[in-house]
Amino acid sequence: MSTPVFEDLQKGQQIGTRELSFSRADLIRYAAASGDHNPIHWNDRFAREVGLDGVIAHGMLTMGSAVDLVSVWAGDPGAVVDYQSRFTKPVPVPDAASGSPETATARLQISGKIGAVDAQQRRVRVDLSVELLTEAATEAGPDQQSHQEPVRTKVLAKSQALVQF
């Protein structure tokens, strides 16, 4: 993908979308890489004891994963001079019913659009939408399930990256 030309950028333009998925193994990898070993991110019993339904992803894993869309679009991750998010809803990552713990059990959709252009500072604000996709509960049979639109839950709010051109 070619690097965007600052002069061509306008508020409202889409920068793209990306789908991400998390498995239990991904949570362990993030715990190791970040040093955040809070057991709510890997131990179901502990998570339930503190009032959660089970293990949830690190908010910082969701936030940290969402921004690569901006880095790739901008052409240089070093151009992301500011990045902020609010954590509004947890991302549950249940244990896979069987098989490998690498099996993804949470699916996120990231999309970004230009929220503001600052011509003087040559900066663009990218507003990210980060949604958890879950299968809609349905009474229909299994062959109808695949046509069902997933339920979308916003898990980050005010997720904004400033890109310096």
């Binding site: 190791a32 955040d36 910082m60 901006v70 880095s71 992301v80 998010s85």
Partner: protein, 150 residues
């Protein structure tokens, strides 16, 4: 109980953190960051960086080490078993690169008590060996009151 008088307190600097290529690669892999400048030296240098570029949220590693001073501060009275992460912000004055040695210092910027508990904001200043400001990490935590626990 949270002690609102601790607002504004600045803690001693944390031990310097040395940014390695492997730490950047491991973190980039963990956050599924595919930009080649996190993984491949030639790709980073082609963009004008002298070494691998850390992902935008990598500074959380350094910030959390500094924030440990707040966690261990009995006078602040924050029960970290009752904390929910509410907001995070990274401001980079220049990108964090492999080979950097970074120092960090945390300030308990704001304590706002509310009915359900308190909002606590910490600010970590990350600077280079020569003292130049590199990144600012602002973190806001929601601390629930003990009596509200289920």
């Amino acid at each position: 109980m949270i002690n609102p008088d601790r607002q504004g307190h600045q803690y001693p600097p944390a031990a310097p953190y040395q940014v390695s290529r492997e730490a950047i690669r491991e973190f980039a892999l963990a956050v599924q960051a595919e930009h080649p400048a996190h993984h491949d030296l030639d790709a980073a240098q082609a963009l004008g960086h002298h070494d691998l570029v850390a992902p935008p949220s990598f500074a959380v590693i350094i910030a959390q080490r500094a924030e440990a001073a707040v966690v261990n501060d009995d006078e602040a009275g924050i029960d970290f078993s009752r904390v929910v992460h509410a907001e995070e912000r990274f401001t980079h004055h220049s990108p964090i690169l492999a080979g950097d040695t970074l120092s960090s210092q945390v300030t308990l910027e704001r304590i706002r008590t509310m009915g359900a508990g308190a909002m606590v904001t910490t600010v970590v200043q990350i600077s280079a060996e020569d003292g130049a400001a590199r990144s600012t990490v602002t973190s806001t935590l929601l601390v629930r009151n003990e009596e509200d626990a289920a």
